[in-house]
Each structure stands twice: as C-alpha cells, then as structure tokens.
C-alpha cells in the first residue's frame, strides 16, 4: 500500500513547485480572453498555426475595437497587455517562440489534463470553446476549486464569496481581489450563474468533476485508496453539484482529461466505485488534487518522513501568506491524530 506514497509525494511537490512559480492571480479579463480565443479560432480553424507578434497584436486590436459582427471590448493598454499575458503565460493557448507565437498542444503543457490550444480552437461550437477554457481555468488557477466549498446547485448569496477571502486553497491565498476575480471568471466561463441575488453552479467542467470525485472518494474511504466505495454514496455526495451524478459519471467526462487509465473504476455491476493509487498519483501530478488532501492520504498511508517533506513545502507557503485558515490547512499535514 505504501509503495505509491513516494510517487504521490513527489507528484504533489512537483505540482506545488509549479504553482509557486506562477505567482498570483492576475486580472484575466475573461470576456476578452474568450473573445480573443474565438478570433484565433476563426484564424486557425484546424487548430494549428503560427503567427508573428504584429499579427497577434492585430487580433488583440480587433477584440479591442470590434468589427461589424462583434462589438469591441474597449480594453485599455494595460488590459491588452494583461489579456496577452493571460493567453500566453497562463492559459498557454499560444506558446512564444523566438519571433513568433504558435498554437500549443496538450503535450506541450505542464498539466496533461488540460486542453491544448489546438483542442480549444477546434472545439465544435463556441459554447464548447468556453467550456474548454473553463476546464483549463481550474487547472491553471486551482484556487478556483474552492468554489465547491461555498456553493452548489441550490445557490447561495453572492456574499458567500466573502467567506473564502484570506483563505488558503491548493497553493494560493485568496485575497479579496482574487475572490472578486474568481467570481467574475467563473460566471464568464458559465461555471456559475446568477439567479436573482444568488449564485448557483451551472455546469462543472471535467477538471472540477475530477476534483470533486476524488475528494469525495477519499473522504468516504477515510483517505484510503484502492478500496471499494458504494457508488450510491458517491452519487449522493455529488448530487448537490450535479443534477444526475450517475449519468454524469457514466458519461465520457474523462475524455477531456485524457488520463493514462480510467480515473475511477466501477465494479460489482456498477454498485461500487474504486479510486486506484495510480489514478491518484496521476491526478495529483496534473494539479487536480488539493495538496491538503494529498497530505491526509500520506498521513493515512505513509510515514512521518514522507509527510514531513510535503509539510515543509506547504508550511513555507502558508507561513508566507498568513491565511485565516492556516491552522486548518496545516492540520492536514500534522503528524498528530489521524
């Protein structure tokens, strides 16, 4: 059982290091990012292509000014620069070569669960483009997973976002500005929607679903892997988030993530579901599992030495940020208790 723990710890540390490298959560101008991707899609319908900086600037200018079909977003200079950064440095839909920009592929991205630029541009519909961006958004800004802690399909007042302020999640502290960005971005990506004065979950991309499924399976199994969990229990946990969890989990949702092997396995006629250790390691490496959750798994299955390496990484980041929930986050890595 404990053989997989070193791999898991290594995967988690690698992910933490990756997110540490990408500091902060900038203003992404999600509407502009979407508009820009849609323009690129027109330009590269087959998802492949290279363009030079002036050509790219031209497209950005189009997004800014609009044309006879689509209204402009009237970005200021700073906004244009931010959108460019979001698309290239964060979402990595385009990759920068020496003088040119080329459309990325999944293989070129750090998270293999993310759609490559080519897949996003080739999405069958514009709605699918947005869904794929939403999927990648969680992988690039994993603090967005925190949203599942504060709302579900039933909806909560918009002020619920205040509850996540100054909280640490995944690898970042969510300050009030980031909380505001998150709300806007997730609405723009149609993950959330406004209903009267409330916000409710509208749709969950595969990355979000994977995060929830893994988290609930581990909670139900008391952070053990390779154990059978009653499928009905998992469906029950997911029901606040999905209209029909059973149908959703039997759909092709894993196709978006392209895992090496199925993330979860249904067995005993579909009445039982199992999360394998290999799947957990793979998901962790792709940035789909909260380090705190990984900490709990290591604490349950590994040694103090294995846990301490992970704890040191997280403690360093947490202490540097002084979030409100520091105690709770670090408790997940404590060698005391469970």
């Amino acid at each position: 059982m404990s053989d997989f723990v070193p791999d898991l710890v290594a995967a988690c540390r690698k992910t933490i290091a990756r997110f540490e490298k990408q500091k902060g959560h900038p203003h992404l101008y999600p509407a502009a990012s979407q508009a820009l991707v849609l323009r690129l899609r027109e330009r590269f319908p087959d998802g492949r292509g290279v363009l030079d900086q002036p050509a790219f600037d031209e497209i950005v200018a189009l997004v800014d000014a609009g044309d006879e079909k689509v209204a402009g977003l009237h970005l200021k200079d700073a906004g244009r620069a931010e959108v460019e950064k979001a698309l290239i440095d964060r979402y990595r839909i385009l990759l920068r070569d020496v003088d040119t920009l080329r459309v990325s592929t999944r293989a070129a991205l750090e998270s293999k669960a993310a759609f490559g630029g080519d897949e996003i541009l080739q999405a069958p519909t514009e709605a699918a483009v947005i869904d794929r961006l939403a999927h990648n958004h969680f992988l690039v800004f994993p603090e967005a997973f925190k949203v599942f802690e504060i709302l579900d399909r039933h909806g909560v007042p918009q002020s619920a976002f205040d509850d996540v302020v100054d909280q640490f999640h995944f690898a970042r502290k969510i300050n009030s500005v980031i909380a505001d960005y998150l709300r806007t971005e997730l609405i723009q990506y149609r993950v959330l929607r406004r209903k009267d004065n409330d916000l409710e979950l509208q749709r969950i991309p595969a990355s979000g679903l994977s995060y929830l499924v893994t988290e609930f399976l581990l909670l139900l199994s008391d952070h053990r892997v390779d154990v059978g969990i009653r499928a009905s229990d998992l469906f029950e946990q997911l029901s606040p988030f999905l209209r029909d969890p059973e149908a959703s989990l039997h759909s092709k949702w894993q196709d978006d993530l392209q895992p090496e092997r199925p993330l979860i396995n249904f067995e005993v006629g579909g009445t039982q579901v199992r999360l394998s250790s290999e799947s957990l390691v793979w998901q962790t490496e792709q940035g789909l599992v909260d380090p705190k959750t990984v900490g709990m798994v290591v604490r349950r299955n590994g040694s103090e030495q294995q846990l301490s390496a992970l704890r040191a990484d997280v403690t360093r980041i947490v202490n540097a940020n002084s979030p409100r929930n520091a105690k709770e986050v670090l408790a997940g890595f404590s060698n005391r208790g469970r």
Partner: protein, 959 residues
Amino acid sequence: MTLISRFHTPPFEYMANRNNAHIRFTPPAVERHVGVYLETLANACKSTTFDPNGSVNALIFGEWGHGKSHVLYRTERHLQAAPGVLVLTLVPELLNPKRVLQTAITSLRARDSGLDLKSLEDAWAKVSTLSDEDRASERIVARAFALFAKNLDRRHVVLLFDEVQTTTDSFQGFVTALEKEFRDAQIVLHLLQCHSLATLDYALKVAASLGPWLQRARQIHLPAIQLRDAHKFFADRLAECTTDKALAAKLVPDGVARTICEAAGGNPRKMLQYAGQLLRSCDEHHEEQFSGRGVVDVFSREAGMGAGKRLYSEQELRRIVELLPQEIGPFGVRIASLLEKRIDRLFGEWEAITALEISRELGDVAAHQLDGLLRPVDGLPLFQTREDDFGSHEYLLSDAFRRRLSAGFGYTGSVDLKQNQVDLLFRPTELQANIADGLRTILFRERVATANPRPVPLGEFPPPAPAYSPIPIRGYRTTVPIARTSFAVPVLVTGICSLRPPLLMIERIVEGLVSGEWLFAYIFYSNENLPWANWEEEEEAKNALAPLKNTQSKIIAIEDNDWGELVHVSDERHRTQPSVVAAQFFADIVGATRLIDSPSEEAEQFAVRLADLVRTRLPTLSTVCYLPSDDERALLDNNDLWGDRRSTKEVSLKEMKEKTGRSWSGRDLNNLLDSYLEKRKGNYVRRPDDTCLIYNALRDVLEERPKQSLSVDDLRKEMERRVVTAGSGDPRDVVEWLLRKLVDGGVAVVDLTQSYRYRDVRKESRERDQSIAASLKELRRRIADVQKYKISLAEPLAAELTTCERKKPKHDVPQNERLDLLIALGQDLLTLSNKVSAAEARVKEETQNVIDLLEELLTKVRSRRSALPLRWQPLILSDAQLDALQLALSHIAAPEGADGEELYELVTRRREALESTLTLALTRVEGRVQANGDSLQELKNLIASGAPFQAVTLTVEIE
C-alpha cells in the same frame, strides 16, 4: 387491428395473479433484491439433508398496490417445480395461530389438492374452541403443520403470509413454536410475510411482534415508483405483454409516464389503472401512443385526492388564464394563449419547450422578455427553466403549477417518505448515512453551515447477515458561524434513530474533538429505550467519553424533546409513541436530500424550522474564545487609545483609526466582544484581562502547578484542552501575548528560558505583610539600641523607619499593585536595615573604644596598685573599690531598666562617672591626689608614688 388486440395479455392488469407473476419489478434494485431472495430460497430448498440453520426468511413490506402479492406469486411460481418442497400461501385475517390454521385448511380445501388434511383438521378441533389470544394454540397449531409436512414427506416447507393487516403480540411466540416443531420433525421451515404497514404505529407493532425473527429475515421494501423510473416501469411491463417491441417502447412516452406517476403518487397499482384507461382512450381515438390530450381527458374524469377533486382541473387552468393579463399585462395574454394551446402537452407530456420555440410561439419575443414566463401569477410560478445538454434553455411547467392543476396522490417528489419512515423503524442502521446526508443538505441550504459539509466516515455497523457488506456510519464536518461575529468554527453533525450509540462512532467523534478536527459534535438522537443521558451513565459511554473530561469540547445530543414540535403528526395518538414520531422526524431529514431537485413546501418548511433549531444550539462567544490576529492584538495593547489598564475609557471607531492608522468596522470588532471589548452605545471599552477565557485558563494552569515552570507550548496545549478557541490569530502568539499580560499583572513570572511560573499574589502578599511587620519591629528595636549609645545616629534612622511605616499599603489597593508596593517597601526596609547595621557597627566601634579606654585605665589602676607593697595596697585603693570598678565596667555595655532618651542619658552618665572614677582611682594609685593639708593623704600619696623613704615621722596630737 385494435391497439389492445396487439397485446397477448392485458398489459395494465393491476391485480397480481399467477399469470403475470413473471413481470419484473421497478426499480431494478427491487427486482434484484427479490431475485437474490428467490435464488437463495431455491438453493436452500435443494438441500435434501436437514440443516437447522438453513431457513431463508423474508419480510416484504410496502403500501397497498406496491406489489406484495406479486412477490408472493413470484415465489410460488419459482418453487412450483422444486421437489420435496411444500409451499403454502396463507392470507389470515388475524396473524394468530388459530386463524392461520383455519386459513390453511380453507385454502387447501379450495385448491382441492388431494392432500391429507387430517393432522390439520384434528388440530382445528382442538383450537376452534379456544379464543384467538389463547397461547395454548401456538404449540398445537405448530405441531399440526409439522406433522402435516412430515406426512407428506417434505424436507422444506415455505409458508407465505400475505396481506397481514393485523398482528398480535404473541405472533413471535407462534413463530418460535413453529420453528421448534419443524426442527424436531427435521423439516426446514421458510417463512415469508407480506405486511402493508399502512401506518407507522402498525409498522412499529409488527417490528415488536416479530422481535429477533425480523433481524434474521431479509427485508425487502417495495417502494413507490420514482418519476425517473416511470417510463421503464411501463416499458418493462409492456414488453412482457406483446411481441411488438417498438410498441412496448413507445406506447407510454416518458413525459406521459411521469405525469401518470406523479398523479398516482408513485403507486404502481394506480399507475396501471390510469394507464389502462389511457389505453382504452387511445384505442378509441385510433392512436398508437399515449398523448397529453389523452392524459388531460382521462384525468379530467378521474377522481383525485380530496372530495370532488379531479386529477386534472380545467378550472384551475381557467383561473390562471384569466389572471395572466391582469397580473402581467399584454405579455400575459400571449402566455395565456400559449397555455391554452399547449396545456395538454405541457401538462400531460411534461413537455419542455426550447427558448427559441417558445419565443416563436409567443410572437417572436426577445430573449430577455422570456424572463416574464418566470414571473408568478396568483402567487405561483407557472414555468421553470432548465438547461439541455448543449447549454440551451428549455421552459416547462413549474412543479407548483402542476400541483395546482392536478390533485394527485401526494407525490413527494423523488422522496418516498413512508418508505423512509418504515425503514427507520425496521432498518435504522441502513438509514443512518441518509440521515447524515439530509442534515448536510438542510444545514448548507439554510446557511447554518458556512462551508459545504464534507462527509466523515464514523465507522461501520456490523452487517445484519453475512451476505451483506458492512453499513457505513457517516457524519459531516462543516463550519458554523459564531453569532454576531465574522468567524466560524468546525463542527461535526450526524444523527442516529432508534439505535444504541455505536461505540466506534463515538470514539471517532471524541478523537476528532480532542484533535480539534471539530470543536463540537451535534448528534440528532432518538432512542425510546435509551435516552442519551442514560447512555452517558453507562460504563461503556464513560470510558468512550473519558478523553473529553476537563475539556470544553463536547457532544451535543439533540433529542426528541428538542425537535418534537417540528414533526407534524397526522394522528395525535402517535405523540405517545416516540419511535413513530422519531421515524417521521428522521424520515423528513432523509427526504431533505432531494430538496434541490424536488422541493416541496412541506420539506422546505421543515428545513427552515430544523435550521432554526440548530441555530439555537450553536456555540457563542461565551463558549468559544476568539484568538485575535496580530492587528487586533496591537489594537488591544494600544494604551494611547484605551488609557491605562484600569481605565474604562470609551473609544470610537474614528479614534481607533486615528491611533492605529487603519480603519476598523463594527463587524471587525464583533469578534473581540465579550473577551476583549465591550460595546457601549456605539463606542468600545477595553475589558479587564481576566474577562478573557484564555487568560483565565492560563492563570489556572499556572496556579495549579505553582512549583512548575511551564513552556509556552505546554501552556498552549493545556489551554486548548480547557478552552474552545477559534479565530484568525495564531494560538501560540495569542498565548504568549496573554502570558505577558499575566507577567505584567504580577500573576506569573518568566525566567530566562522563557518558562512561566505562577506567582500567588495573595499568598505572597500575606507572607510579605508578615515579613514586613517583623522587619519593622526588628528595625525599631535595633534603632532603639543604636539610640542608647548615639542618638545622633539613631534619629535619621528612626525618621526613615517612620516613612516606611507610612508606606505600608492599605488592603483596599488591588492585589497586584499592593504586592508591588509591598515588594518596594521590602526593598526600602532592606536598605534601612543596612543603614541600621552600619549605625550599629559604628555604635559598637565607638562603645568598644570607650570600653577599651576604660579598661586601659582600669588596667593601669590595677598595675599601679599591684606595684605597691601588699600591705599598702588596701590603704591606697581597697579591694572592694577595685571590684566595684570592674563590675561597673562590665555593665557599661548593656544597661537595663530604661529606654529612649532616658537610657541614653543614663548610659552617658554612667560612662562618664566610671571614667572619672577610674581617673580618680588612677590618681590615687599614682599618688597624685590633692592632699590640701591632709597629712594622711600626703602619706598615701607618698606611699603610692613609690618614692623611696627610710622613715616616716608621725606627729600625733592628742587633745
């Protein structure tokens, strides 16, 4: 060819019989359960040897029309070819031995089975004269059945009891007697009972009367059909009745199936009855498929729930159509027209219309105008929206409007409350996780929980039979807000009904409380036979709860008395049956899991009331002490703002901003109320340190171990055992902050290793009081002694002593300050003591000088005298005079009998007198006394002077 003629057997036959026993159950889970039971029973019946533990028993329960008889016929059919098996189906009026026997004889005679009924008839002759309640019949009837089977040479007997409407307390006795007699006859007895359980109190009675047998029996519940299964229910049935698979699949479209299911309250028999009528209507109209029109036609004629009500009410539609223009205006006219035109499909076929299509239907209205469809009319939303798989909006009738249009049979969404209630009475362990799930939904939905609750495994119930897997016990961890503050604390929520608290569950909860995973645990609990308080008194409970001793974290049980009012009891007699009320309450909780998808007014009201109940039990600032952040601690320490520690200065938010450089809101400061601040008319006053629970806990820890030095971490650990804390501050930092206050307040002392020790102010003050009193007395004495010898030295010392005496603090001064004053006074007295010592040394030195001088004089006198011839010595200075001088000298150091100035004068006088006496004695022994013509003196001087003389001439005149 008519539609009906295309079925080889009537497709919607709603009474179970042997011919349709093969039809599959819906939902598939029930079919699976029944299938497993039948296979197990058939396998057991294959055994040709007697196995006393080989019985396969089952209890089938469900409401009227849910398929109990169907199970019975299926069982009969399944075993019909099994050799060596006798299957008897019994439908007694009363479940007592006498009536069971009577029913068996009647049934066997009716079947004209040709079997020899003598043993049964003989038994009937014996019991027919006995009353129904007579327990004597149990053994007679049981033996008769066993003998009957033995005579038939059957190794297995399957007794099937159908439609058992009433039971008696003695039935368990009859079952025991049956089992014994069959065991003695070496025949395996298999029992199957079907119970209607129409009322909960009856279910409870059945559970009580079956006793331990129930635990050994498979329990199969036949639930109401859920909306999502409605189409499958019809399609499966139709597929068994026709060879035309396409017809079977399409005859009852999904929307129509749902409408039928909704109207029938999920009751399969009613669904079949309605479907039968729709089939005839369809046939009459030469249609191939049930349609909304047919549904509206049939439902308009069918009686609904309530006197004079129909399953579809045209009047309700008319009312809405008329109100639409009045409430929504011109757009309402269009909606009314749409409703009139499409109500058959919208209602009967559960039609969902795409945004594009409905926009066209309403006259090409703009997308934003479609929101008007969602506006309520007559207080009722007419439409609701949902998204299709491609993210487009669809519009369909709202649930509330559907209920208004159709007085159906109490469909509760996808929740079968009755099923839940019976399950809670029969299989409480299996419902535990559902109770927890329901609590999760209610608490988050009603915003009692600020974070989406996460499941926590709390162990497992032991499996009821080897074939079953263990049943998980579940709780949810979430955070709940502290009233009037902006911070929340983690808690665990769970529930158990009619069960003894499982030890593993309690141990896990306690473990979480001790480790701080959750600060409080709430258990919704009901057990008629073991109230929580009684359980807590048991040894097992005491051991399990032992780690919580001396801690503030606790398990809070919410019991029947707390939530009794939340349960709507249709029959007030049930109030006296706590188990029944509890089953209703917990069933409502379980039903809440479907609040998102199938909200009902009753369920929502229940959720609101339950949430209100929980809110009254949530922790407050008086039970949870807030850990202030760095900024907040700096604010609290700002003496420029608040004044000194004893000040009760009122400070405004504006002043806080001025003094701290940042703005503070009332919301920010709410967290600090109670322990650190007090609010007075919009302003704030800093509270004394000892109003803070943490401060007091730290002081108590130190006080309890007065001789121990404790590190910050030790103190923190101990504090966390005693006080429930939460907040944004780092606990260690807060503990250090408060320890500094304890030190400043004189309650603790800190050493160089940053360890803290208690300082007992009262004791220390008392000791210092005593020591100061003793010092003062001693100093007074010593200064007086000094004064004996040298008043000039004693005077300033005495003045200082008076000052010190005046410094002695009064008892109305605060303890800490008084101790400080005592310590300072002690220092002063020490200084004074040193000064007195110096004076004493000086007095001693001076005294010694005088004594030395006097002794020198005396020595000279002695030496001079001893130099005289012995015979002259008494003449010059007698022995007595010399002794007197010696004695006077020895007394000069410690005169007695006087004090103060008088003493000083006496001593001085004596010293001077002695000095002159000695000087005089010296002149005498040296022969220097003034003779003044005194011849004798001259003679003495001559002798004493030692001058040589040969003769002395004495002239004596005699008168």
